[in-house]
Amino acid sequence: MTIVEERPPVDVDEVDLEFIEMIKKAGGPNIQSCYQCGTCSGSCPAGARTNYLVRGIIRKALLGLKNEVITAPELWYCTTCYMCTDRCPQDVKPTDVIKAIRNVAVAEGHMLKSHQDTAKKVMESGHAVPLDKDTWSELRKKSGLEPLPPNGSSSPKVAQEIRKIAKKSGFDKLIGYTEEPPAAEKKEK
């Protein structure tokens, strides 16, 4: 005898139609032709080692189960390698769907602190991987290069412009960035 736990059916009242429209736009004109073959998941190097399942996310997204997909931690295991997109027999764009779902997740406050910190580096220096130590300049000199490259590392105006962009687009709020850190925090630096 097998014991099967009965699961509640998909509640149609939960369906978010606006979310489905967004998914259809991100996934390309063929997304409603997805026949759940699983080529995406079978090709996925993240799915091979984690519980990240592209096929399932696409299905849930098309059912409008917004909250379920944006809050799932495994959403962040996709390395955006586009293997699924290149192999999809129906020319759906799963990677772009995942990125679009991540955008919604971030907009609704589901963002890892480590990701916020990376974004803050760009606000502060203009670069996600900044020239934040003298040793990096020394490394440049050892390669016969000037200590500061001609990018945001040699011009504070670059990061200033990025901060203006982030303020205008509202990105600063999404990552919890404030230009003037509180006095107490400043002291620690």
């Binding site: 974004a119 670069h127 020239l131 016969g144 412009e161």
Partner: protein
């Protein structure tokens, strides 16, 4: 009189800030090939496509477009040696030309800093310049020190050739362009099963979960070992290079397994093949060597260091 081709050199973050040897090697190689690389003054992070593109598409496209406007003002195309930077700049350039709604939103943001995306320049990767502008035959003519006998595994990475229907660069299931460029060096191409899988670093996964991201990398190393091993792994992307290079130190710490692969960017491979000494651009400064207090395996690479690195 034919004019030398000129490109704005988009450095990004990892090349100038962590692997400057790639920046120098590129300057040597492009100079040898008669191509001018112009400083792109005021450029920022691309910004990382899988990271910022995952967070907020409009902000990602705006910061990328800001970089594009610098090149538009100067009137030269861009070239970059990073798959990630290439993806952000190329994709945003492409999407902004196709998507009116995105373009309007981006230009509204750019107006605040007195800039406007016009869509007048093209974005290339070093691979495009080497293959389409110079040509592999001419690259080969510059090889004065063929790396004969060196076993070379390739890691093409993802974002130069994928998604294939949009990028239209190479067959992403059977790519040949990157391989042809690397083979001009005289090194012997070693095929391995997992050549085309991702290094594991992209999509903000390295930041979110280092161990999972390194598990991809480990799979690649094991696959190369199963194919009989390689003396060097070559990649056209500094983020992949960072993952493969410092990743070995991190894998040793997190998984207790030791790998000893020398990793090179395609610019470094060509600089060596064009006869430049490793010290001329600083090959021995790759981070795995400073972290492990080792140096490249000169014998295996058929090279001898001019001056041995002293601690």
């Amino acid at each position: 009189m034919s004019k030398r081709p000129a490109y704005y050199h988009f450095l990004g973050c990892i090349i100038p800030h962590r692997y400057p040897s790639i920046e120098k090697a590129t300057k040597l190689v492009f100079n040898d090939l008669g191509i001018d690389l112009l400083d792109m003054v005021g450029a920022s992070c691309c910004p990382a496509p899988g990271v910022f593109g995952s967070f907020d598409r409009v902000t990602w496209a705006t910061i990328a477009a800001r970089n594009l406007t610098i090149a538009e003002q100067g009137g030269h195309p861009i070239t970059t040696g990073c798959n990630g930077c290439f993806a952000s700049l190329w994709d945003s350039n492409h999407e902004l030309k196709e998507d009116e709604e995105l373009r309007a939103a981006v230009n509204r943001n750019l107006a605040d800093i007195g800039r406007e995306f016009k869509g007048t320049i093209e974005v290339t990767h070093y691979l495009d310049v080497l293959h389409d502008v110079v040509g592999t035959q001419k690259v080969k003519e510059h090889v004065t020190r063929p790396l004969n006998g060196v076993r070379m595994a390739l890691h093409p990475g993802c974002h130069w050739m994928r998604p294939k229907l949009v990028k239209k660069k190479d067959d992403s299931e059977r790519p040949h362009i990157f391989r042809e460029i690397c083979e001009t060096s005289g090194a012997k191409y070693v095929h391995y099963k997992d050549e085309l899988i991702c290094c594991g670093a992209g999509g903000a996964v390295r930041t979110a979960d280092l161990k999972t991201s390194l598990d991809f990398t480990k799979q690649k190393f094991d696959s190369i070992a199963a194919a009989g091993g390689a003396d060097v792994i070559v990649t056209p992307c500094p983020f992949c290079l960072l993952q493969l290079d410092t990743g070995q130190v991190e894998i040793q710490k997190l998984f207790g397994v030791e790998y000893k692969f020398d990793i090179m960017h395609v610019s470094e491979l060509l600089a060596l093949a064009f006869g430049h000494e490793p010290d001329e651009f600083g090959l021995a400064n790759h981070l795995q060597y400073s972290q492990r207090k080792t140096e490249p395996n000169w014998e295996r690479l058929n090279l001898r260091a001019k001056a041995k690195a002293t601690a």
